[in-house]
Symmetry: none
Subunit: 214 residues, 4 copies
């Protein structure tokens, strides 16, 4: 299966490569993730060809296969990149809220998170729909990245519990629900858009969540 000269770079030991320059590998893979996203989101994974993907990446087909083991790997790179960006955004944002009182911090966190989701609507929906197309190994990796967002909200909630502002039986479930509500905005936008704005949706759900835990 694996041909002569194939490696696995240390940073991402899931994906095959023929290159030995680790920096170059990471650079190229980020290029791939960023440049092919628009195409894949627009045309769908199955309807996009390697030719189109390579072209969208500004590469040749051969070059693509130097840094990636299969078409599936490209899909993974795109989805994981989107997820990572979201996770990093949340981690950075939430860290900046450390000095606000818990209730206010949670409100701002949700607002920021929902706002980010709104901007990435397409990618979020795309990830939901296409995750099934990568092998479970890669699926797990994506889910783990998603859990970093959940963990971020858990932290905020934990602090509120410590201060007595919140009263929560199961931190993880509540944190997950916040995340899920954000995803719902992206998943059902075709419906929600017709009935409310992002701000209304956000306000509504912040209240609902606070009612449940405050």
């Amino acid at each position: 299966m694996v041909r002569a000269g194939a490696h696995f770079s240390p940073k991402n030991p899931i994906l095959r490569t023929y290159s030995k320059d680790h920096q170059l590998i990471d650079l190229r893979r980020e290029q791939i993730a960023m440049r092919s996203a628009r195409l894949l989101v627009k045309k769908g994974y199955d309807r996009s060809t390697i030719r189109e993907i390579a072209s969208a990446c500004g590469m040749t087909m051969g070059m693509l296969y130097h840094y990636v083991g299969s078409k599936e790997d490209v899909l993974y790179l795109v989805m994981n990149h989107a997820m990572s960006q979201l996770a990093e955004f949340c981690e950075k944002t939430f860290a900046g809220l450390a000095n606000h009182p818990p209730i206010q911090a949670l409100q701002m966190a949700i607002k920021e998170y929902f706002g980010k989701i709104d901007k990435q609507q397409d990618l979020v929906l795309f990830t939901y729909q296409e995750t099934k197309n990568v092998r479970s190994e890669l699926q797990r990796s994506i889910l783990e990245t998603n859990m970093r967002v959940v963990a971020g909200f858990e932290g905020l909630l934990a602090r509120g519990c410590a201060t007595g502002d919140f009263k929560i039986r199961n931190l993880t479930i509540v944190a997950h629900e916040v995340v899920a509500l954000g995803q719902l905005w992206a998943l059902n936008r075709w419906f929600l858009r017709k009935h409310c704005t992002l701000d209304e949706y956000t306000t509504e759900h912040i209240q609902s969540i606070l009612r449940g835990i405050a």
Copy 2:
């Protein structure tokens, strides 16, 4: 556009057929919807071949194409059949709750709906992931079927408003949220299953919703 000698049956004028027996058409299409569901859910739409689908339906390829215009149409039949079943289930169940007081009726309705979703997990998730693969004409048809469920909850909520039990600004949004929460159980089951049971999930969200509207 329409191939030689093809018809459109009155009951489902979206799908091409070569048969002239309307009863048979409906029978065969239901067979297709029911018998190919398991295969499609398990293997995924793109990875299932027409040959496999036909075989799963107990038909030959030629026969399949007498009652359906394309592989895409099979996908539509499966998704729409699942949706229709769900809608019918809800309509019947909700009708049986007419004599209960609104709050109790809503509680029971949610419980029944979530329970049904739980049994159809795979199909619900499948529909979410594959709807993009049918032409927008068919997508719309599926969404309309889904809206029947939303309409069902709207009815329950409206009755509660009339009796003064509920106080709701926008019926549709609340109804849609109930439906969406049910779908979330199917969509994120891999996560939720690890942290709570269906009963806990149901109870939790019934309370959360009632807090918001009672």
Copy 3:
């Protein structure tokens, strides 16, 4: 190859049938020839399906196969019917010219023949293009019908030779050339139409032929 119950009607012993009523057979076959011509000419033989052909004939598929052995046979019926009509037309017309002096008779014959060809343009072109699609047995039958037209002109020319009006080395070649010139009008109409009318074309070639034989 031939299934139980297959016959060959006496009038056209080339085509298989399941019917025993010879009159009905001939009637149906003429129906087929006449009613499917327009479809075949318009869509082409290969791109027309048996379903369409049957429908154009006002028959069901099964009925069609009662009076014809294959799709190829339908093609034969159409082409042969067209050819026969042309031949009969010529034979009748030429017979009516028996009392005119040879030169005048030939002129009128050519004029009538070219006029008939012009009206049947599509069928003549069609026959040229599709004859190759029937087995040689049927091809021969069609050519023989065509030769009846040639024979008709031969007769006119022979009379002229007998009276001394014409001087011809090889009757058949000249007769065939007249026929061929008529076919050319149908075959190259896309070009000729742009440069001359049927009358001009006819006059021109009548003169040219007379110059050669008078």
Copy 4:
């Protein structure tokens, strides 16, 4: 309409390709035109499969589809190649007759042209019968190539008119008739062969034409 990653080479912007090497494209397309001709002529276009065509070209199916967009395009390549060869032959030959007196030049031109047609009988007949199978865009391209031959004869006739050797009302019609007579030899060879040789046919028609214009 145009598939993923497909190009149109500058030389023949009607046919799709996936290759980027223009020289190679032209080379392969000529290979296709030349090597598949025999097969197509023998078996007919509809009865030849892509597999057979590719094999006759010494290519794999995939390779064929790198240089051609469809089976139809192969047909076009074959017919257009034959036509082009004929046109080039005529142009070259006619240019070599510039110093002969018009009458003699025309005689030699006709003789050469008929001779060439005779050698390409099968391809000429094939082109007549199958042109209908390519889209009108390609049909036009073929007809234009054919008109180059007509133009060649027009030139010869025009020179004769200038010197006073010929007296012609409509150059194009006469030129076209010469061409058509050549094609007739190919189209009706099954009949003509039985009654005269190519030389006889040629002599006969040269006289007939000269009678009309000298």
